[in-house]
């Protein structure tokens, strides 16, 4: 399966991907609307900065899916291709997945006071097709490729 990979050398630390991610998952049809109407638009990708170092992190769609195995309700699941998604209807916000994800990629949904969590779903559930962070990265620091054997 194609996954998102990060090329740290190329990341400028501009955080644009965070904005596009928040927009892509906001349900609005333009980025200006997303940020005007939806003040707390929330990205599922996070750019870490430490001095000269910058890189984006979002769900790796791990092959062994530790978060899915840990989820106490079955809200997290993985499809036959390896895509890890969340059914927020079944999430009770226990944060067992936050405890488990070794990359810190489960995002607590502050918009509903943390009652559920959310995560990168590679833009398959929104009007994306291809991950927006990849499409909009201005320096090719995030790529969407198949680099491994599938599950």
């Amino acid at each position: 399966m194609k996954r998102v990979y990060v090329n740290e050398n190329r990341c400028l630390g501009c955080h644009l991907c965070e904005y596009w991610c928040a927009f892509a998952n906001s349900g609005e049809d333009s980025i200006t609307k997303a940020f005007k109407l939806n003040k707390e638009a929330m990205p599922r990708i996070n750019v870490e900065d430490d001095g000269e170092i910058h890189f984006a992190v979002q769900c790796r769609h791990c092959n062994d899916t530790p978060c899915v195995k840990a989820c106490i309700t079955g809200a997290l699941s993985v499809d036959t291709e390896g895509l890890v998604t969340i059914d927020t209807e079944r999430c009770v916000g226990c944060y067992t997945c936050v405890l488990t994800c070794p990359y810190g990629c489960i995002v607590i949904d502050e918009k509903n006071g943390g009652k559920t969590v959310t995560k990168c779903e590679l833009c398959v559930k929104n009007a994306g097709g291809e991950p927006w962070c990849v499409k909009e990265c201005i320096n090719g620091a995030i790529v969407f490729e198949d680099r491994g054997v599938s599950i």
Binding site: F55, I72, V98
Partner: protein, 411 residues
């Protein structure tokens, strides 16, 4: 191959998934004395407070048994394992033959005896049926007494708060959640729960019950309409013990989850002991992810693959009245890093250049898994930027090489 699984919960379901990883055709039969489609046990408190519907109690999609070709025998209890004839005997005397057997029987409530307790009548809080019985009995404004301020007792308190503000919790320990929180964190959580109107009597226990009144050892009395006993749990080990398998406090297994001293019988979940790699000793780790993972490893080994269950550590993620806690590992350490502001609390326990454990509350729970990975992978803190990571859990603190492995390679 004919697989039989006793227990239709996290361990049993993990076992099905482990078996079906490679063996798509072997016969699988799940036996459970609970008559329900597999449900998430922790959800009983959410169901009781009407936050989860019957439909969403399911632990897996409704077509799980069909998709995985599983036969179920529900509402019947396994009473004996006949190891010589390789069959399980049920409470209606029927027999279920097996080639490979998994015991995922979980645990049962431990209820200490107290004079007058049986006459008074009480509930426990471990099963769907317990939650249903409590929902039927509780009237708005009812007086509730809960014995036990652990995870289960406090989850019951949180759920019942939906019906009444008249809730009292008592515990022998001098603090709440004593198995997962230190004194500081426990006191923050206690104040938070008290702010919702719940009352606590700590460091004391019930001397006797006289009708609907509990007389406590500290001289206080407490009257109630509904009594919930949530002092602790005991693993269901009887089947294995009788069959001649090794049992300490829980069932003792190899790293493959095969039960010691038995053949073709495996065990997983709350009924077993796990090797706690954060302290290097066997413990009962009664948490759902552990049950699933052990079940999965068992299933893989039962179906001819070779996998070991290693790297289990105590870990908990739980919230009460909107305040969240995430904890992991061991708190006996040389050194600690602590931050506290209001309801937010963080304590990292450091031992011999490794992260041994942590307690995170409130806003500090974000990205907790980064700390979990430091414990599990036993990463020397001198290899990472600990000054950065202690306040900002993230991958920036790792060396470039380690980070590239995580972010630029398939895994």
């Amino acid at each position: 191959m004919n697989y039989v699984i006793i227990g239709n919960s996290a361990a049993g379901i993990g076992c099905v998934q482990g078996i079906r990883d490679k063996d798509k055709t072997g016969k699988i039969t799940i036996i459970s004395d609970e008559p329900y489609f597999t449900y998430s046990r922790p959800l009983i408190s959410y169901w009781l407070k009407n936050a989860v519907t019957d439909e969403n109690m399911k632990y897996r999609d409704r077509d799980f048994y069909d998709v995985n070709n599983v036969n179920t025998i529900l509402g019947k209890r396994a009473v004996k394992i006949d190891t010589a004839a390789k069959k399980v005997i049920l409470d209606d005397n029927s027999e279920v033959p097996y080639d490979k057997l998994l015991v995922g029987t979980g645990s049962k409530p431990f209820v200490p005896s107290a004079p007058g307790l049986d006459e008074t009548g009480y509930f426990t809080f471990m099963k769907y049926d317990d939650a249903k019985a409590i929902k039927q009995a509780v009237k708005p404004g009812a007086k509730v007494l809960i014995v036990g301020a652990g995870l289960i007792g406090l989850k019951a308190a949180e759920a019942l708060h939906e019906y009444t503000e008249n809730i009292t919790v008592i515990d022998l320990a001098d603090r709440i959640l004593s198995s997962i929180l230190d004194a500081d964190a426990a006191s923050i959580m206690q104040k938070h729960i008290e702010s919702k109107g719940v009352k606590f009597f700590l460091g004391t226990s019930v001397n006797n019950f006289a009708g609907k009144v509990a007389h406590l050892k500290n001289g206080e009395t407490c009257d109630f309409d509904i009594l919930i006993m949530a002092v602790g749990v005991r693993p269901n080990t009887e089947l294995i013990k009788e069959a001649g398998g090794e049992v300490n406090r829980g069932i003792v297994t190899e790293k493959t989850q095969a039960v010691k001293s038995l053949t073709d019988i495996y065990a997983a979940g709350d009924c077993t002991e796990s090797f706690d790699s954060s302290v290097g000793e066997n413990k009962i780790l009664a948490i759902l992810p552990n049950a699933f993972l052990q079940g999965e490893i068992a299933g893989k080994n039962m179906s001819g693959q070779e996998f070991m269950y290693v790297n289990a550590i105590p870990q908990n993620a739980i919230g009460f009245f909107g305040l969240h806690i995430i904890t992991a590992g061991s708190y006996s350490a040389e050194d600690a890093y602590e931050v506290a502001d209001g309801d937010n609390y963080k304590k990292l326990f450091i031992n011999k250049d490794k992260l041994a454990g942590f307690i995170l509350m409130g806003k500090y729970v974000s990205k907790a898994g980064i700390y979990t990975s430091l414990i599990k992978e036993k990463i020397p803190l001198s290899d990472i930027d600990f000054n950065l990571i202690k306040d900002n859990p993230g991958l920036a603190a790792f060396s470039r090489g380690r980070r590239d492995k995580k972010l630029a390679e398939f895994h």
